[in-house]
């Protein structure tokens, strides 16, 4: 806490009020002293010697009375100067006339403006802005709190620490090569009676932190976008409490909300009971138990299982888990990312089914072409054999040949059916070709 009285005395030279007091005191003291000196010294000395001696005594006394307390106060000021000057936080102080009465070393370094050249001026803005404008301290000295949003739109707020203080983080484009971010806070300074004496403003260069935060935020947004695109959500598992620590994205993936589930921490058993497909519960439990039981360095594991979302929809989830273990190899926590791979999995299943159907179709087609041809071939061979042997009964041969004609008709129909199926599977056959194949 800054001693407001000391700040106020930090004007150059003596306080005008003290000077006035000293003048009045001096006048009274000199008048009285001269009368007293004349009474004391005149019987022994001449008038001039008595006057000279009186002047010396009065002056010495007055000087002692006047300067003794000031020296004491100056010692306090000196300590305060040292404290403020030595503070690593760049600071300046203005009085009620907006004159700068303090400008510390840290501010000199961060702004390049020497205290000696700016103290006494009303230009603290020079440290931060390219053109004249009020600083936060100026606005607080003038009590223009209502104008704060105008000068610091959306970036100003009350300090949670000190009553009457305000703080903001802002970009100063003209500072440094690519601008600089400053966290600054200002507070009005009052004496013990509540009289406004001035204001202190602290400005800390947070450019590196802000850029790191911006980069972190950019990465977070990128991660969020990536997760959104990839239908992913992350989670954490606290091995000590056997609780999953989830988030809104995770709950969205599972078709629910934190409100519905009673918060972001969910016991393993509850999670399994509420979301894992009953046929996959054993598999998932075994994977979790295996991960918990295994010792060794940090591990990465993957598994895939089905979930039942809160809306009843069954989805396929691919889980990637990284376990963090202590020096004994025991898991202390794990982090994971769950990806909804339903479309991919269903496409795979559909493809397998399609391939299986196609294979079945091909085999069926082969059987229904190859077999009949063999049968027809065998039957015609039999007819030829009968003729060769001279065992010819016209009606029998006619019947057998008629049957083979029927069989060949059927085979032709089977070929057309096969072609139709092929055409149905392919979109790149011309209409003329389709007609040829299917008629």
């Amino acid at each position: 806490m800054i001693d407001s009285n000391s700040i106020w005395r930090k004007t150059t030279g003596l306080d005008p009020r003290i000077i006035l007091l000293l003048i009045f005191m001096g006048m009274f003291a000199i008048t009285g002293a001269f009368e007293l000196g004349r009474d004391i010294f005149l019987p022994y000395l001449g008038i001039w010697q008595a006057s000279l001696l009186t002047i010396i005594v009065v002056s010495a006394s007055a000087a002692f009375i006047a300067f003794f307390p000031i020296r004491s106060l100056r010692a306090t000021d000196a300590r305060l100067d040292t404290l403020l000057t030595g503070s690593p936080a760049p600071q300046f102080v203005i009085d009620t006339n907006h004159r700068i009465i303090f400008w510390n070393r840290a501010l000199e370094i961060s702004t390049g403006i020497k205290a000696s050249e700016i103290i006494g001026t009303t230009d603290p803005w020079r440290a931060f802005y390219p053109a004249k404008r009020p600083t936060l301290a100026d606005l607080l000295v003038d009590g223009l709190v209502e104008q704060l949003p105008e000068w610091y739109a959306g970036r100003i707020g009350k300090s949670p620490l000190m009553e009457g203080a305000y703080e903001s983080v802002d970009l100063f484009p003209t500072l440094g090569k690519t601008g600089a971010w400053f966290y600054f806070t200002a507070i009005p300074v009052r004496d013990n009676n509540g009289v406004l004496l001035g204001a202190v403003e602290t400005a800390i260069d947070v450019t590196r932190r802000k850029r790191a935060e911006d980069a972190l935020e950019a990465n977070r947004l990128l991660l969020e976008d990536s997760m959104e695109l990839a239908h992913m959500a992350y989670w954490e598992y606290d091995a000590l409490s056997r609780m999953f620590i989830l988030n809104d994205r995770f709950y969205t993936l599972y078709g629910t909300t934190a409100e519905r589930e009673g918060g972001y921490r969910l016991p393993v058993d509850t999670f399994i009971k509420n979301f894992i497909h009953p046929e996959d519960i054993g598999y998932v439990r075994a994977a979790i138990d295996k991960s918990l039981a295994s010792l060794g360095p940090n591990t990465l594991s993957e598994l895939e299982h089905r979930i039942i979302r809160r809306d009843g929809e069954i989805r396929y989830i691919s889980v990637r888990v990284r376990a963090t273990r202590d020096e004994t190899g025991r898991m202390i926590r794990s982090n994971g990312a769950n990806q909804d791979v339903t479309e991919h999995r269903l496409a795979e299943i559909a493809l397998k089914e399609s391939e299986a159907r196609f294979l079945t179709f091909i085999k069926e087609a082969a059987m229904r072409l190859k077999n009949p041809l063999e049968v027809v071939e065998g039957n015609l061979g039999s007819v030829v054999g009968d003729i060769d042997r001279g065992d010819v009964v016209c009606a029998d041969i006619t019947l057998q040949l008629r049957l083979q004609i029927k069989n060949i008709e059927q085979i032709r129909n089977n070929i057309i059916e096969l072609n139709k199926a092929i055409v149905d599977r392919s979109g790149e056959i011309s209409d003329a070709s389709k007609k040829f194949l299917t008629e």
Binding site: R368, N371, P372, G378, D396, L399, Q400, R402, L403, Q410
Partner: protein, 184 residues
């Protein structure tokens, strides 16, 4: 394995695999073997018309008295009804499995007291007219019927012409698979 060496058990079902060239010959051999063991034989033919079958059997000295026939191809080939023949039922079309099932069931039901073995000739010939899926269903139906009525049955097939998956399914319906081309 030679047909004559096959030990046909009562009420048992067999799938006999033979080459296409041997199919007719095996048909004759099986009939002879069954008749020699006092079986009545119900021949379900999807390949040879009744008249041709009869002449073949007679040429090979097989009497038709103990043979029943369900002929699926004569009406189909001729395009009109065949004159009625004792011990033979003509089905209009090989793909008419309902009619075929009724014909088989009818003959079996009419001869419950006899020792009958069904000879199905052949799975491959049926593939001209119906899908393997329907053949599987139909053979399942026939084997169930035979088991319920305590009859034996033999299904002829050309192994090389069948999809292995279909073959596996067929083997589950029978008690034994016999490959007559195999040595031993």
């Amino acid at each position: 394995m030679a047909i004559s060496r096959i030990e046909i058990k009562d009420e048992a079902l067999y799938l006999i695999m033979a080459s296409a060239a041997q199919m007719k010959e095996e048909n004759i051999n099986l009939i002879k073997m069954l008749l020699s063991r006092d079986y009545y034989v119900l021949v379900v033919t999807a390949n040879q018309p009744y008249e041709i079958l009869k002449k073949n059997y007679e040429r090979n000295g097989i009497p038709m008295e103990k043979i029943f026939v369900v002929d699926t191809v004569t009406k189909y080939a001729m395009g009109h009804d065949h004159e009625p023949v004792p011990n033979c039922r003509f089905v209009s079309n090989p793909s008419d499995l309902t009619d075929l099932g009724i014909a088989i069931t009818g003959i079996l039901s009419d001869n419950k007291e006899k020792k009958i073995s069904l000879l199905f000739d052949s799975v491959n010939a049926m593939l001209i007219y119906i899908s393997s899926q329907n053949i599987t269903r139909f053979i399942h139906f026939v084997t169930n019927k035979l088991r319920l009525m305590n009859f034996s049955g033999i299904f002829l097939a050309v192994e090389k012409g069948l999809d292995p998956d279909l073959l596996i399914q067929l083997t589950t319906f029978v008690d034994q698979v016999i490959d007559v081309d195999a040595k031993g």
